[in-house]
């Protein structure tokens, strides 16, 4: 028996599929966070049977992901799906594979088994289109130290979509980075850099946010900012998959908790 989790409810599938609900209970009540995924070994039972989850509602589906890094079997049959307007929170101890999972979803790492589906189509088959709807915020805010915050965004966002200077300024103001946007990133503190990175996240207009510990280095205001931005994103029917140490203060029915065991 294996749990398939998706936002808005907890679907549990028995071998005879007698308990499976007919579809996604749309406004279902979320259970507790920190639901464990059973460690399935990647056999045929990992793939959700058709008809129990309508894939058109579940924009992002991860199916039976197995990944080895060297000798370590880091991801062991991870499966979950996220629908529009929901956020999946990845929790677990250091080394459990949260970053690895995020990178595997993004397509930076190739899993040995399993696949990631976006809008029902395997992500690998539509890499560029998938990436165009994706924003990845890693451990390092990807900023060049020798450019100012504004210049950084002009280039990093500009290569994805045309963006006007006014838009950049507005985003920087939203994340509280306007005061230091014209200083070289090298001279900024880690928290300030993260605020600029968050502005970049906003500007990309992506549907799926993959966030790796987004609140790192941020003060209490900053952490609230992340929560606000996340809530606004979910309200726009965006999706979030975030690796966090503490939960994000978001409405419970929009949250899906996934705990990875080391």
């Amino acid at each position: 028996m294996r749990a398939v989790l998706h936002a808005g409810g907890f679907c549990q599938h028995d071998d005879d599929l007698s308990n499976g609900p007919a579809g996604c209970p749309g406004g279902g009540i979320g259970r507790r966070n920190g639901l464990k995924i059973r460690r399935s070994q990647g056999h045929a039972g990992s793939i959700p049977a058709r008809g129990t989850i309508p894939f058109d509602h579940c924009m992002l589906t991860v199916e039976g992901l197995h990944l080895w890094r060297g000798d370590r079997h880091v991801l062991r049959g991870v499966s979950f799906s996220v629908e529009a307007g929901s956020c999946a929170l990845l929790t677990g101890r250091n080394g459990a594979g949260k970053t690895t999972l995020l990178r595997a979803i993004a397509g930076l790492l190739e899993p040995e088994e399993g696949q990631v589906r976006w809008r029902g189509i395997p992500a690998r088959a539509q890499r560029d289109a998938f990436h165009a709807e994706l924003a990845y915020l890693g451990h390092e805010p990807a900023l060049k130290g020798d450019l100012t915050g504004q210049e950084n965004l002009r280039y990093s966002v500009g290569i994805r979509r045309g963006v006007a200077a006014a838009e950049i300024d507005a985003a920087l103001a939203r994340t509280g980075a306007a005061a230091f946007a014209d200083r070289l990133v090298r001279a900024l503190s880690a928290g300030q850099r993260r605020r600029i990175a968050l502005a970049g996240l906003l500007l990309l207009n992506a549907s799926l946010w993959l966030l790796d510990e987004p609140t790192t280095n941020l003060d209490a205001d900053g952490q609230q900012l992340v929560a606000d931005l996340a809530a606004e994103h979910l309200a726009r029917q965006g999706l979030i998959v975030a690796a966090v140490h503490h939960s994000l203060p978001l409405p419970a029915d929009r949250l899906l908790g996934i705990e990875l065991a080391a």
């Binding site: 998938f130 890693g138 450019l147």
Partner: protein, 226 residues
């Protein structure tokens, strides 16, 4: 709304140019290295210009190659370390095209100065005035081919320990054709013969490089980012 490919290339190029001019010392170093290496040869061989002239093609090209290898460090390593290369790979735009833009900019910043310094160094090695134009042309084209080839090995060594020496080890055998034809062109220029023939070969290598090297470099970078 998605940025067209040409604009992407232009933005990447501008970004790299802006970054380079904020840290001009990075540009000067390979050039200084070239000149120092070229100076070592007279010190170890002979001060006689007539004999140095015979060795000039070798000195120029080995020096240019070693200095290019040094400069290749700047192509991807910093971008890989601060996460911006990863963002390029995740942008949904053609990584091949972006890396081609980066390589061309890299050549403008390191290969062209090398080519311009070539005649100066060649003059110091006793190469006659009429030959200096040929020296410049050969170095310009050859350094472009070297940048393209080097992009592949730079991508492959992204995930490796002691990447710098390994980068040189991988690039040198692949650079042999460029060296052979470049040195031949220089030698012919010194002797007063036409340099068309080896220049065409260099051009062919450069065209081959333009066609395949960015593709290979993009694949190598994606592997290196894993």
């Amino acid at each position: 709304m998605k940025t067209p490919a040409v604009t992407v290339a232009w933005l990447v190029a501008r970004r790299d140019l802006r970054l380079a001019f904020r840290k001009p010392s990075q540009l000067i170093q390979p050039l200084m290295f070239f000149m120092i290496v070229a100076t070592l040869f007279p010190l170890t061989l002979t001060p006689e210009l007539s004999r140095l002239r015979d060795a000039a093609p070798g000195v120029l090209w080995v020096g240019a190659l070693l200095s290019s290898l040094l400069a290749l460090e700047f192509l991807f390593r910093e971008d890989a370390q601060d996460g911006t290369l990863e963002q390029f790979a995740l942008s949904g735009q053609s990584l091949t095209w972006m890396l081609f833009a980066k390589t061309c900019t890299h050549w403008l910043l390191t290969g062209v100065p090398l080519a311009l310094a070539g005649p100066v160094v060649a003059g110091m090695l006793g190469v006659p005035r009429p030959a200096l134009g040929g020296v410049l042309a050969a170095l310009a084209l050859g350094s472009f081919a070297l940048s393209l080839i080097g992009a592949i090995s730079a991508g492959l060594t992204l995930g490796a320990r002691r990447g710098g020496v390994l980068l040189s080890l991988l690039t040198l055998p692949l650079a042999v054709p460029v060296l052979v034809f470049g040195a031949d062109a220089t030698q012919r220029a010194i002797l007063g013969d036409g340099i068309a023939s080896p220049m065409y070969m260099l051009g062919a290598i450069a065209v081959f490089g333009i066609t395949f090297a960015p593709l290979a470099a993009a694949a190598a970078v994606r592997i290196g980012l894993e």
